[in-house]
Amino acid sequence: MSTATSEKTQPGRPAPAREIDRAAVRFAGDSGDGMQLVGSQFTATSAIVGNDIATFPDYPAEIRAPLGTLAGVSGFQVNFSSHHIHTPGDRVDALIAMNPAALKANLGDLVEGGVLIVNSDEFDESNLQRAQYQTNPLEDGSLSRYQLYKIPITQQTLAAVKETGLGPRDASRCKNFYALGLAYWLYDRPLEPTRRWINSKFAKVAAVARANTLALEAGYALGETTEIFTTRYRVKPAKLAPGTYRNLTGNQATALGLITAAQLAGKPLFYGSYPITPASDILHELALHKSFDVRVFQAEDEIAAMCAVVGAAFAGAIACTGTSGPGMALKQEAIGLAVMTELPCVIVDVQRGGPSTGLPTKTEQSDLWQAVLGRNGDCPLPVLAAQSPADCFAAAIEAVRVAVKYMTPVILLTDGYIANGSEPWRVPAVRELAPIPVHHATDPATFQPYLRDANGARPWAVPGTPGLRHRIGGLEKADGAGNVCYVPENHQRMTHLRAEKVARVVQDVPAQEVFGDAEGDLLVVSWGGTFGAVRTAIEQAREKGQNVSHAHLRWLNPMPANLGAVLRRFRRVLVCELNMGQLRQLLRGAYLVDAQGLNKVQGRPFMVSEICDRIDQLLGGAA
């Protein structure tokens, strides 16, 4: 609980390094302060030195909310560890706050006794007022529970970059790199990866590259040459499985997965999409990889994007789209068309807070119902959810594989948390990846548009194939022949056939695994991006001796064949999800199980402690 100020700076010996298992650091500032950038840099460097990492970028929907206000605070949290971790951490061990608003918005997440670095230059009257502080927290003793370091980051940065001749405005914009340098020193990280990044990013503006480098080095030097800090920390490399690793966000992983799937199928990838937060980064990433025959179509709206996907699937491409809640709602009619015409395609829904525009940059899992149930008519389709940033890669490939095999649209659910968060991804060897077999109908003698194979799939006959001319569309089609058909019995039969086909996807859904005991007092069920927090909580609870197991669902439709049996082996079932109980309702409906819920809709992921508390409550306290 020491405090220090820069007035005390004087050359001295570097502080000794203390070895720790893990640490979570959060950079917080105005949305124009470059916090996402330095957070990403800190993450990349931590990954390169071999830590396991998990990140949580948290930024406002407004591009530039009024300067210095609480509404404009942008934060980036990175958890780095010498062992395997699943989450960015409930609380942070160090907070770097670039202004009063950032301090106010983030202080509650800093552990008691944690490192608190503030840019003291920004704590003037007007900024304090904008952050609704009555008194200056740097002076009023309210921060005494933390290791407070008041550093005049702006002044120090201006002094450091003076030689570049940049004007004060441009010069002060380097202060995020100063803060990054300081954090690098505090956690004993190398500067070299960020130096390289700066030089390549600002290759065309040498003065800016130089200034950012100087600021970075000055921040580092402050720790190195002064005695402000009593301790620095060292986190050893994690024991990850052998291999080559790369840090990936969920959206990047989804994009790479879609490209890979199309390559494994030997087909062009068509990606039709309309920009929407937080899914747009998939579109951006795919637009960079046209050498893989990626045909990116930025549509005029969500509906057009989905309709173009249906058209591209009809014409034989691996056709995909990405969107988020409101866009998903707009796409539903065209998704129904893909169900009716039985064409393979993938819809990625990067969920965000809803309803309506809701919380565009915040995470939620409240699109489950609209994914599973959200269309007119009896309109089932396969739905799966990725569990972590890197898992989006495998989930995207799986989605394409099922779409093509069963001739159906498939919905892949991710969420803002795993889409923007990142973790190490073990780079697969291309030969490890199984090809995606594609069968196009070619024989006019046997072809019928709605004749089914053993999986219940109809043939994929693409325009341009000699002699397979046929007409399909949204009207009900005659079983087999595929002509428009209003015969009552035919509609019933086709409705059954469509449902049976989707139910048959269960043969590609692995049996539900249970982490922990196969039976017992409590089974915690989760799906999608909450995997990390729930698994960590279960690990902790089991270490305490609590009788609790974990079942994480990947497939939401169809669900694993053994799921009902799994649920019945536990006295109680708790479903943790970032919505008001959508999976719980589906499980109750399908398995008549009296599932309880832990439901959170604050635009933020679960904290491990929230899940642990609920487990304690259900099990009557720690065992």
Partner: protein
């Protein structure tokens, strides 16, 4: 169904085995026949031809064509067709739509398809009424039209498809009328030859809900005075005895007797004019003040969407070769765990 050589096809080869279910006297029958004739005359390859539609009477069209066909959802045919064209630019893709489908529920897709200049032929059957939903006013119905949903008369001002198309930067736009079969064939053939989006408005009679909406242009005695056939490089002349012409008076068009004005005063039609202003003026000529122009308003050459799309892919491949997954995976900063 059997494989057919792309040439030597007849009109019959383009008729599917499905019964045509439009009402007797509907203009759709004529458009279907003329398009089948044009494709046969072109020697079109049925296996490489795709008809895409939305919802409405006209949108049943693909079922009657012995080609590939896709009957989509209301208003979205241009988007579906864009996906088809992006996936396989080699296909000859036609969009069949109506005034409600293209301009009301599908207005957005219509605009953006035209501005992108996707290689699609878009044929809009304009009957100025909702037919399939049984007779409500459409976005092209005249002000005051009395229908089941506007018993006191429509209070919507109509939209003019060709004006809208020109405003949306279309590169080919033409108009024909269902009953003038020779001219309709000519216009459809011209559209079939255009690279980029070709938009054709067809005045189409709805015998049940809006009969005679285009009587001014079909009535044998009156039509010569009410219709003007556009010919590239020719002056704008019409009338039973070709006695009337169109000239500009200041900013405004006016009808003049050709023998009372110098020949040079008449507007010479230039469908290739890179400036669409005159084409827009022609699109504003409405009965009864003016004869309504038929034929090709504009036929410009501009880069085509799917060409540009594929050029970017080829350029990326020329630069670094076809993408290799191993290189894609290992891009950026990587590290190795032993």
């Amino acid at each position: 169904m059997s494989a057919t050589p792309p040439t030597g096809v007849t009109v019959k080869d383009f008729k599917s085995d499905q019964q045509v279910k439009w009402c007797p006297g509907c203009g759709d029958h004529s458009i279907l026949t003329q398009l089948q004739k044009v494709l046969a005359a072109n020697g079109a390859d049925r296996d490489r031809t795709v008809f895409v539609s939305g919802i409405g009477c006209s949108s049943r069209f693909p079922y009657y064509m012995e080609t590939y066909g896709f009957h989509g959802i209301h208003g979205r045919a241009p988007a579906v067709a864009t996906g088809v064209k992006c996936a396989n630019p080699e296909l000859d893709v036609w969009v069949v739509t109506g005034d409600g489908d293209a301009l009301s529920i599908g207005g957005n897709h219509f605009l953006h398809t035209l501005r992108r200049n996707v290689g699609l032929k878009v044929v809009l059957f304009n009957n100025r009424i909702y037919g399939l939903t049984k007779g409500q006013y459409s976005p092209t119905s005249e002000f005051g039209t009395r229908t089941r949903s506007s018993p006191q008369g429509s209070i919507d001002h109509p939209m003019h498809p060709i004006s809208v198309a020109i405003g949306a930067e279309v590169t080919f736009v033409a108009r024909a009328i269902d009953t003038d079969v020779q001219h309709l064939q000519y216009v459809l053939k011209r559209a079939s030859e255009h690279r980029g989006t070709a938009f054709v408005e067809v005045y189409q009679n709805c015998q049940v809900f809006n009969p005679g909406a285009f009587g001014f242009a079909t009535d044998r005695t009156a039509k010569a005075d009410n219709v003007l056939y556009l010919e590239h490089g020719q002056p704008l002349i019409f009338g039973k005895n070709r006695e009337k012409g169109i000239r500009l008076n200041g900013d405004l068009l006016e009808v003049v007797p050709v023998d009372k004005v110098p020949r040079d005063d008449l507007i010479i039609h230039d469908e290739r004019n890179p400036d669409p202003s005159m084409a827009f003026r022609l699109a504003r000529m409405h009965y009864p003040d003016f004869p309504e122009p038929m034929g090709v308003f504009l036929a410009q050459q501009k880069p085509v969407y799917e060409d540009l799309l594929m050029e970017q892919i080829h350029a990326a491949r020329a630069k670094s070769g076809p993408g290799q997954l191993a290189a894609l995976f290992a891009a950026g900063e990587t590290w190795t765990v032993e």
